[in-house]
Amino acid sequence: MTKRIVIPVGPQHPALKEPASFDVTLKGERVADILVKVGYNHRGIEKGCEGRPYLHCVYLLERVCGICSHSHSTCFIQAVEELANVKIPEKASYIRALFGELERIHSHLLWLGVAAHEIGFDTLLMYSWRDREVVMDLLALLAGNRVNYTVNVIGGVRKDVTEEEKGQILKAVDILEERTKYYVRVATEEVSFIERLSKVGYISYEDALRLGAVGPTGRASGIKRDVRKDDPYAAYEEIDFDIITDDHCDVYGRAVVRVKELLQSYSIIRQLIKKLPQTPLSVNVPKNIPAGEAVSRYEAPRGEDIHYVKSNGTDKPDRVKLRAPTLANVQAVAKMLENGNFADVPIVVAAIDPCFSCTDRMIVAANDVLSEKENRMTWKQLREFSINWYKKNKGVDFSKIKKSDKHI
């Protein structure tokens, strides 16, 4: 009988950038059993939302994840808008979808790089991350930030897309599409890539269904499920696109699904830009949200994101619950690793694209160029500015809101 050895992988591990721990029991080189421990990144955000005004929750929830920040803020805001019974202007739903797709592109390109790195294919990492800069620059141009775009406001979006920006988006999409076609060739023709990833991290259709795999992880096992089609939100009902599935059921399949989804995203963006309606950007939503409950779903780059919001008639939610797609996929990972090679652990875990805490970079305001007086605001000034802005533009008075003692 072969001796069994338990090797702890994580919580800190050179291959995985986020804390998650896997106790891997080995029988020879093969994984016999696996014990997953997550929760190292629990920051009490759900609790933090209680006792904070809805407006503050938007900013807080946007910081659940650096990569899919737009997903969480949109998902939450959709629930709040349903509770407040407001319909956002058409243009706002188009712009939300536009940012959603740009976010998907940057997330999938990021994943491609990480996956390539895990299998020692660093040329592909350099290529895909270089190309990812195209979409990151585009996001910075459109929203002012590479991550945490804060495009959503309750009742719509805060920012329009100008004619000039439309041209820049289309130009960037053309570049990215050409590059992605090359990645499709790499994924389907490059022998070392195919050989390395095929039959690694296998999970059958039945198991993926039973364990609740979502997003590209589920779709690579043939589960034809996508919230954008199943339960359309934003502008997706008016957009024509396909759900990409694959029947390889392994890491290779997950790579193919993601690369092909990129091509779908480019087509979606072109349609959104072409059809972008001319309506106002947002509607006013009262500060107090009527009592009720709402569930909102969103197809984040990694899979289905879901938010439950319970309101009580005040300006603060009673309960906010969120489930990010990684949580739904983490049990599927344990199954994928079973009987696999120990050396495959990093790539199999990376293949579900677990949410890394990624803060790309900080943009420091150009204080040197502008005089201090013009450019700097104290916290108090900033608060006053925002209160006046909301009073003037939205007809909502936030001046009564004070930091509650209950805040943690």
Partner: protein, 161 residues
């Protein structure tokens, strides 16, 4: 079939166990069940009515009682939110991990954050709170006072040293 028809069908089928059913919109149904009949109805709702996908489980404290909501979905993207109410003294639900293994983390969340006992859930590592989190402190309970925590964590930290 429209959501209203589905609601009517569920209401007739499980009439004695239904506390209330409400159609919020085409893809959002809210069903409240008698806690004692939950398990029995839940299995049938999965097998017979097509709500076979577990999306997530939410636990909440309304002040008077606890509520657990099982968010289920069918293939058409309809979400059926099944709610049960639980007494504040000795709160407990039965596990659904035999039907959905993926429910484990959500059920551990109920235990950790609300102190709801999940009967039938095998022993395992806690989630999502840290291992040195003090006993009997459930942050999502409305009467929970976070200031207690600073002292307790310090204390338990001392012990570990």
């Amino acid at each position: 079939m429209h959501a209203t028809d589905i609601a009517l069908q569920i209401k007739n089928k499980y009439s004695s166990s239904v506390v209330g059913i409400n159609v919020q919109r085409e893809r959002r149904l809210w069903l409240e069940l008698v806690a004692g009949d939950f398990r029995k109805c839940f299995e049938r709702l999965i097998k017979e009515d097509g709500f076979e996908i577990l999306v997530t489980i939410t636990g909440l404290d309304t002040g008077e009682k606890y509520e657990v909501i099982y968010h289920m979905s069918d293939k058409e993207g309809r979400v059926l939110n099944i709610k049960i109410s639980i007494d504040r003294d000795n709160p407990a639900v039965s596990t659904i991990t035999d039907l959905f293994p993926a429910a484990e983390l959500s059920e551990r969340e109920l235990m950790d954050l609300l102190g709801i006992k999940v009967e039938g859930l095998p022993e395992g590592r806690r989630y999502p709170l840290p291992d040195n989190w003090p006993q009997g402190q459930y942050p999502l309970r409305k009467d929970w006072d976070p200031s207690v925590l600073d002292k307790k964590i310090e204390k338990s930290g001392d012990k570990n040293d």
